[in-house]
Amino acid sequence: MSIQVKFFASLRDKIGISDTTVDSATTAGEAWDIATDKAERPVNVLVAINLDYAQFDSPINDGDEVAFFPPVTGG
């Protein structure tokens, strides 16, 4: 099993990881815990699975891409 995990913007700077791979996780939250060695999760972190917004308890599958990022500030 291989899940690609990405971090963006201030969250990447805080965690110190841009992207990594985890071998086993059943939810986005588990992927966070494994990728960050259970770093404390800021309350406002957003999650996307395969480019769609998701939740921390959303299921993930082999080959998925999970991204974590802070509130968006574009426009």
Partner: protein, 145 residues
């Protein structure tokens, strides 16, 4: 219907004109509504000298396309153009352009307003400002008022 990300400065007025010329709209449209967001040289009463806009490329493209499709389902638009900058941005540089064409004004105005609010709340872009005291990630957008 077109959306794209630009890593270099763009002229929104030329972009609107070019798109209109190339879109084949001819004289079908009676209304064009536009929103152009530009970089201010201040924020929270502090001078800002530069900004870097980061994004999640694959998700951003997909999300902008999704917004355009939804706008077209909600309003009778003839066409729509979205351009958003990424990379290093200087004060007064355009950051985002939204243009909507329709037969009558209400659809173009409402769609344009809806698109910029949706984009600001959901599209995965992040701004980092350069100030006199260093760099700072913006934690939230303005409320639109």
């Amino acid at each position: 219907m077109t959306s794209h990300i630009s890593a270099t400065a763009f002229d929104p007025w030329h972009a609107i004109n070019d798109h209109q010329q190339q879109s084949g709209l001819d004289s079908q449209f009676g209304a064009t509504a536009t929103f152009i967001g530009s970089m201010r040289d201040f924020n929270d009463n502090t001078d800002v000298s530069q900004m870097v806009l980061e994004h999640y490329p694959e998700m951003t493209s997909r999300y902008l396309d999704k917004l355009e499709l939804e706008a077209r389902e909600r309003w009778p638009l003839l066409d729509c153009l979205i351009i958003h900058r990424v990379g290093e941005i200087n004060p007064a540089d355009p950051i985002v352009l939204i243009a909507c064409w329709s037969a009558h004004r209400r659809a173009a105005l409402d769609a344009c307003s809806w698109l910029i609010e949706e984009l600001k709340h959901r599209a995965p872009f992040w701004k980092k400002e350069t100030r006199q005291d260093g760099e700072r990630w913006l934690e939230h957008n303005t409320d639109g008022s």
